[in-house]
Structures are given as structure tokens and as C-alpha cells.
């Protein structure tokens, strides 16, 4: 029984109280995912579970037996940077960097959601077959990731530039 993290198997914790976040940071020694609030309010702990964005602080690790988790460390391979990571650098998408891994994983998950046609609070036509990633949609879909340094404009720019196929 194990969880796959960035392609490697990590055993389930003995203590079921262990959050997925603590498993990643302490057991798997992947400290890229941050513990911002530990209560599901800030989004800094966002990771992908089978490509779907979740909050690892509210996730009990034992619930993820057999699942595949991607953290910031696993986004790109071979010491390269994912194009979104590069965009965060180029477009001033971070200041202290604490929310940044969560922002990036959240954005990756977000793009899959909108491509799949998942509506958001600002989607005007619910029945539309496809939804364009305009600025309003992008901001709304990223609203679960807080940034106390206020790097939002850079974050939005980085995401918009990377996934530019439909951004105004």
C-alpha cells in the first residue's frame, strides 16, 4: 500500500492522522509544498492528485493509497523548469515565494478544469460547450490561492502568457 509521489512510491504513514502535506514534507522529504494555514484557507499546500488540484493540508494521507501525487518538485524533469515556472520568473509572479508552489500547481490543475469545461462563478453561459480562459475566469479560478505579498498581477500574467490560447 503506497502513494506515488512524483513517480516514486511512498509508504502510507502509520499514524492515520498524518496529512498528505506532512507526508510530502516530512516523510517524502519534499519541502516544496508549503504549510500556510493548515486549515484549507490559503491554498499554499495545493498539489495535484491524479492531475486534479487539491489541498494537501486537509487531505489525510491514508485516503490516497494508490493515487499519484505531483508536487512542485515533480512538475518538470531533469533539472529543467516547466514553462509556467519560467513564466513566473519572467513575469514577476512571486516575491517571498511561499505561496508560489501552490499557485503553480493550482494553475496547472485549473487549466485542465477549464479545458474540460468545468464552469466557474463568473461563467456567463453555463451551457456553453467550451469556456475561454479570459482574465476574469483566470482570477476567479485562482481565488483559492492567497498571496500576501500581492504578486497577483504577475501571477495572472504568468498564467495568461503560458496558456495563451484563449486569453484576452
Amino acid at each position: 500500500m503506497s502513494i506515488t509521489v512524483n513517480g516514486s512510491a511512498i509508504s502510507l504513514p502509520e499514524d492515520p492522522r498524518t496529512s498528505l502535506l506532512d507526508l510530502l514534507r516530512d516523510h517524502a522529504r519534499l519541502p516544496g509544498t508549503k504549510k500556510g494555514c493548515n486549515q484549507g484557507a490559503c491554498g499554499a499546500c495545493t498539489v495535484l492528485a491524479d492531475r486534479e488540484r487539491i489541498l494537501s493540508c486537509l487531505a489525510l494521507a491514508v485516503q490516497f493509497d494508490g493515487r499519484a501525487i505531483t508536487t512542485i518538485e515533480g512538475l518538470a524533469g531533469d533539472g529543467a523548469l516547466h514553462s509556467l515556472q519560467q513564466a513566473f520568473i519572467e513575469h514577476d509572479g512571486f516575491q517571498c515565494g511561499y505561496c508560489t508552489p501552490g499557485q503553480i500547481l493550482s494553475a496547472v490543475g485549473m487549466v485542465e478544469e477549464i479545458r474540460r469545461g468545468v464552469p466557474s462563478h463568473v461563467t456567463e453561459d453555463l451551457a456553453a460547450e467550451s469556456i475561454a480562459l479570459g482574465r476574469d475566469e483566470l482570477r476567479e479560478r485562482m481565488s483559492g490561492n492567497l498571496c500576501r505579498c500581492g504578486a497577483h498581477n504577475g501571477i495572472v500574467e504568468a498564467i495568461a502568457r503560458t496558456y495563451a490560447e484563449a486569453v484576452e
Binding site: G40, G43, I54, L58, L60, Q63, E113, T123
Partner: protein
């Protein structure tokens, strides 16, 4: 967090067999894990029910049957929900964040507990919901976010769900299973008002499991909406919210569904307002009269009196918009 054993149920029957006094069902954990970390909840056993039915299917009678383990996102994005019950899709995506919606289950959303800060403050605040008879610090405290309808001298907390407001408006029924057998309840009958026992939040029997939610066939729901009024544009609980569907024929309200969020200890079906509206002219005056009827017994607290007028105006605005679509 107090220690617990963890098991995963393969189906509803297995889950019920595993249930017991100190056991709780675990869905996405987005509320329960937080409550456990705050030691508000202290189950000795968690039964993971995320493997139970999450299907979303149209039935032979034209109703929509949603498995209790269906994730919130999956319900909001489902084509049948978006086209036949848009208020439900809008209500879900108005709530929480995308990450939370991806994790949260329908059953868990229904059973989530209040976010009243006094309820959460186990060390420093008196709370009759947490410790019956202890008292309620919200009533004389900071109660801007608290209830104006359905509250009692024992508790003024609100039910925080957006999804449930839409379910209440849509006449949703909840399918339950327990050791005593299966039964169905209207969602509007599932949650209790606090009265003198705010610790008893639902009418569920011990070990009773929500297995599904059923939305009846409801043609007027295809033109429906959910409006959430809050301090921020996103990622905040409702001050006031309104779920509405209306059918107008010849300038008269033929049928209507109306429910409020953010204002009561349970998702608030506005029965009185509906009664005023049916057969009335589809005008702003009627909409206002209906809101007045529903809010007549509102009991504002020191900080939340604004909710009465806010609810009134939101009802009028939402119904006017829906009516305008038909002009």
C-alpha cells in the same frame, strides 16, 4: 487531533456495519479533518465512504440521482445539472475554492457544520452546540455573520453551505441507509432548527448514511439562478444568498422556488414567499411583498440587522432578473 482507526468501506452495507458510537463517515475531509484538528470532533474511528456511489444519472422518472460520494466539482460540471438545474451548478461554484470543490463530496457538503467562530473556539468561548448548556457567546458577541431566521436563545449559528440552498429550492430528497433499513427525506426536513438542542443538527439516526440525493424532474428549474452576496468577490461565505426559479405565464407567476443561505441554521426554503408569489403579478411589488412575508419574523442581532434589508433586496433583484429574461 485525537487518535483514530481508519477503514475504507467498499459499499454502503459495509460502511453501516462498520459504524458505531464513536465512528464518523469520512468524505473529502474538507470540513471533518479541520474540525478534528481543532478537536471539536473526536471520532475514534473514521470510515472512508469516498468509494461509494458517485454516479450522476437520469432516472426513468426524469429525476436526477446523484451519489453521495460525488465530488462537488463533478456535480457542478455535469451537463444535466448545468442545463436542467443551473441554480445548483451556480451554487456549487459559488462556494469554497476549486481545490476544496474537487475534494468535497455531496454528502459531506450536506453535513458540514457551522463556521461560527465561537463554535470553533473550544478553549475560549461558550457554545451550546459544542457543549450543551454551556451558553452562547455569539448572541451578545460579534454576530455579523449569524442568523436572522430560525435561530433560538440557545444558538444563532448559520449553515454555511451554498449547494444545500439550491437543493432546498429544488425539492431535493436525500436517500439514507442504516442498520434499520432505507428511507428518504426531503432535504428541507434533514436539518433541525436549534431550538433548545443546537447540538442535534440533523434527524439522522446513529450510523445513518447519506447514499444519494435525488432531484425531481422540475422544468421550471431550467431557468434558475443562485446569487451570493459576500464581503469579497470570491472565496468567502455568504452574508446572504438566494436560489430562485420562476415560471411566468401572461405576466403572472405560475410557479416559483425560492431559498436563502447565510441567514439561518439550515438551508432556508422560503415557503411563505412562494405562497405570496404563486398567482401574483410578476412585478417588483409582488417580489417585495413576498420577501417581506418571509422576513416578517426575522430576529436581527446587534451586528446583523443589515441582513434583513439585504435579503429583501437580493430576492427582488434575483426574481426581477429571472423575470426579465422572459420579457
Amino acid at each position: 487531533m485525537t487518535p483514530f482507526t481508519y477503514t475504507r468501506a467498499t459499499d454502503a452495507a459495509a460502511a453501516i456495519r462498520l459504524a458505531g458510537d464513536d465512528a464518523k463517515y469520512l468524505g473529502g475531509g474538507t470540513n471533518l479533518v479541520d474540525l478534528m484538528r481543532e478537536t471539536i470532533e473526536r471520532p475514534a474511528k473514521l470510515i472512508d465512504v469516498t468509494g461509494l456511489s458517485r454516479s450522476i444519472e437520469e432516472t426513468g422518472t426524469g429525476s436526477l440521482l446523484i451519489g453521495g460520494a460525488a465530488r462537488n466539482t463533478a456535480v457542478a460540471e455535469h451537463r444535466a445539472v448545468r442545463t436542467r438545474y443551473p441554480m445548483l451548478s451556480r451554487a456549487i461554484v459559488a462556494g469554497a475554492s476549486a481545490q476544496i470543490r474537487n475534494m468535497a463530496t455531496v454528502a459531506g457538503n450536506i453535513l458540514q457544520r457551522t463556521r461560527c467562530t465561537y463554535f470553533y473556539d473550544d478553549d475560549g468561548a461558550r457554545c451550546n452546540k459544542r457543549r450543551p448548556g454551556q451558553g452562547c457567546d455569539a448572541i451578545e458577541g460579534f454576530n455579523r455573520n449569524h442568523a436572522i431566521l430560525g435561530a433560538s436563545p440557545a444558538c444563532v449559528a448559520t449553515h454555511p453551505s451554498d449547494m444545500c440552498v439550491a437543493l432546498a429550492a429544488l425539492d431535493a430528497t436525500v436517500r439514507l441507509e442504516s442498520a434499520e433499513g432505507a428511507r428518504s427525506l426531503a432535504l428541507t426536513d434533514l436539518h433541525r432548527l436549534p431550538e433548545d438542542r443546537p447540538d442535534l443538527e440533523t434527524v439522522l439516526r446513529p450510523g445513518e448514511l447519506i447514499t444519494a440525493v435525488e432531484l425531481p424532474s422540475l422544468p421550471l428549474a431550467s431557468r434558475s439562478t443562485y446569487r451570493k452576496v459576500r464581503d469579497r468577490a470570491s472565496y468567502a461565505f455568504a452574508l446572504v444568498s438566494v436560489a430562485a426559479a420562476i415560471e411566468i405565464e401572461g405576466g403572472t407567476v405560475k410557479d416559483v422556488r425560492l431559498a436563502f443561505g447565510g441567514v439561518a441554521p439550515k438551508p432556508w426554503r422560503a415557503w411563505k414567499a412562494e405562497g405570496v408569489l404563486r398567482g401574483a403579478p410578476a412585478t417588483g411589488a409582488s417580489f417585495r411583498a413576498a420577501a417581506d412575508a418571509e422576513l416578517e419574523d426575522a430576529t436581527p442581532l446587534r451586528d446583523n440587522g443589515f441582513k434583513v434589508e439585504l435579503a429583501r433586496r437580493t430576492v427582488v433583484a434575483v426574481l426581477s432578473d429571472l423575470a426579465g429574461e422572459r420579457a
